[in-house]
């Protein structure tokens, strides 16, 4: 008795449907909703269902919004640069200077702090970076400085926080693209006379380009959308973009304004994603064709 060949059985649906329904309902719809709500407005704490551009008009016309946006952008870019700078040697050492057995151990060890509570760690940095905090106490005790360095509640503190929280992500992504480099290439380079540093510049760095791009994308996105870090470490004086969004939610309870700001954030993120991920594609294609420069 012939069955219809290409129609999948019931259990196919039982497998895919629940999670898909859940995500469509509680992820896709809500996100689409934000877009829609951003074109409504709020009067007396209630949403008015009339299409309007006023939220966007307000955002684009008022300086504080631009300032916050650019601040976030700059902080995230700096975070990317620093985590790349710190992550490269770290990833390199683990991938190439440590025996295979311990590599996994080190990777897990690196993930451990990454996996603990964000708030608590941010609080810890507060303790460390405060004017009367541990860092200043330590430096003063060593007589390196006389008066405390002001770090907490400045953007430098936020920067330190960003680097701390996201360098692991960058390092992991770099590590994974380093790990997949064919060791024969390195031996060939050594055989042809390249010393460690040259090998790194000529071979390893180009080949880890995809990992670098991926890491940059993620570090940027996560730091751009980060609220907790800047709030706890940077204070409220010169807010970042994410703080503006939260202000509209918890402060003025203007959900449509918050949505408009959120949309701008989403657009920024998507733009970065598209821009950079396309570069990953071409980079990986190139990886197959030319292992070292002519």
């Amino acid at each position: 008795m012939a069955r219809i060949r290409n129609f999948p059985p019931l259990r196919f649906f039982v497998g895919f449907l629940p999670i898909t329904v859940w995500e469509v309902l509680f992820f896709l719809f809500p996100v689409i909703l934000i877009f829609m709500v951003s074109f409504l407005y709020v009067k007396e704490l209630r949403l008015v269902y009339e299409w309007t551009f006023r939220n966007y008009a307000k955002i684009f016309s008022m300086l504080p919004y631009w300032e916050a946006y650019l601040r976030s952008f700059r902080l995230s870019l700096t975070a990317v640069l620093f985590s790349a700078a710190i992550g490269y040697p770290l990833a390199y050492t683990i991938a190439f200077e440590i025996s295979r057995r311990y590599q996994r151990l080190l990777i897990v060890a690196m993930i451990v702090p990454f996996w603990t509570n964000y708030l608590i760690r941010a609080y810890s940095w507060q303790i460390i970076l405060a004017n009367s905090g541990l860092l200043n106490q330590f430096l003063q005790a060593l007589h390196v400085i006389e008066t405390p360095i002001r770090i907490l509640y400045t953007h430098n503190a936020t920067e330190v926080g960003f680097i701390y929280f996201y360098m692991v992500l960058m390092t992991l992504l770099l590590y994974s693209s380093m790990e997949s480099i064919n060791r024969d290439l390195l031996e060939a380079a050594a055989d042809l006379g390249a010393k460690k540093f040259r090998t790194f510049i000529e071979i390893i760095f180009p080949l880890t380009y995809p990992g670098l791009i991926a890491g940059s994308v993620f570090v940027f996105i996560l730091s751009f959308g980060d609220f907790v870090g800047p709030s706890i470490l940077g204070g409220g004086k010169n807010p970042v973009f994410s703080q503006l969004i939260v202000d509209e939610i918890q402060g003025t309870v203007n959900l449509s304004m918050a949505s408009a700001l959120a949309v701008i954030m989403v657009v920024t993120i998507v733009a970065i994603l598209i821009l950079l991920l396309r570069r990953v594609e071409t980079a990986t294609l190139r990886k197959g064709g030319k292992p070292w420069r002519q």
Partner: protein, 267 residues
């Protein structure tokens, strides 16, 4: 010449290793600070260190509200981990059994919740659940929301694990007369158990530590991170150190446990 080369290589090797140690020191510094100063008597963290004391832990235990929030977090965490792992397992198994033509689209869609900043997700869910569906903010909303992130996460973990189960084992089970559910029960579940446990543990910690979404949708039933946030708003509080140490211990042990389970081989 060779001797000098060797020395130089050794030097760079040592320098790099030193760098790794420093980097790890940097990574663990905040954690160490929290733990150490949870046992220090002073209200403000001070160097040099004084005698160890447990008084902040004592204060923590008597803080009813704090414990209530901890309970809330556990309830949410357990619910989220079970729901997410179940959803994730079903999807992972379906992925393995059927060649989906839109598989990349599906996987991309599932990666969405994991890449979008939780600030945006929190706002989106707040509007959707509270404003549109008029579901008042509560732990229920938190559970719904956390599952959005944790289910795909669980799916990816279980999927990786299912890959290591030989397809012929399933074929043998079918050949011997087992139906789909029987095969899952008799063969797939036992062999993927370590992966499932790891998914449960990891999604629990993910939910347990999550702050911003919970902040938006939990309403009056604060979870632990939400409570800690309000405590932090009130200035430096050493009980936070004690609570933090407890939380750290939980997260780290779950992570290590799940790593153990993920390392186990399946037959």
């Amino acid at each position: 010449m060779a001797a000098i080369k060797g020395k130089r290589a050794d030097l760079s090797h040592m320098a790099l290793r030193l760098y790794v140690i420093l980097a790890f020191g940097f990574l663990f510094l905040p954690i160490a600070v929290i733990i150490i100063f949870s046992f220090q008597p002073g209200r403000y963290p001070n160097l040099p260190l004084n005698e160890f004391t447990l008084k902040w832990y004592g204060e923590m235990i008597y803080d009813r509200v704090l414990l209530e929030c901890m309970k809330n977090s556990v309830v949410v965490g357990v619910s989220v981990s079970f729901i997410s792992t179940a959803l994730g397992f079903l999807a992972a198994y379906a992925l393995r059994s059927y060649k989906l033509r839109v598989e990349n689209l599906f996987l991309g869609f599932m990666s969405g919740p994991l890449t979008v900043p939780s600030l945006l997700l929190g706002l989106a869910l707040l509007i959707f659940l509270n404003t549109f569906l008029s579901i008042s903010n509560s732990l229920f909303s938190v559970i719904l929301s956390h599952t959005v992130i944790c289910a795909p996460f669980a799916m990816f973990i279980v999927r990786a694990r299912l890959r290591s189960i030989d397809k012929t084992l399933e074929e043998a089970a079918w050949d011997l007369g087992a139906g789909t559910w029987q095969t899952i029960r008799e063969v797939i579940l036992p062999l993927s158990a370590p992966g499932l446990i790891a998914a449960l543990l990891l999604t629990f910690t993910l939910s347990f530590d999550e702050f911003i979404i919970a902040w938006f949708v939990s309403g009056f039933q604060a979870t632990l991170p939400v409570k800690i946030w309000s405590m932090m708003r009130g200035g430096i509080k050493p009980t936070i150190n004690a609570a933090g140490t407890v939380i750290f211990t939980l997260s780290i042990s779950f992570l290590v446990l799940s790593e153990y389970f993920l390392r186990k081989k399946s037959g």
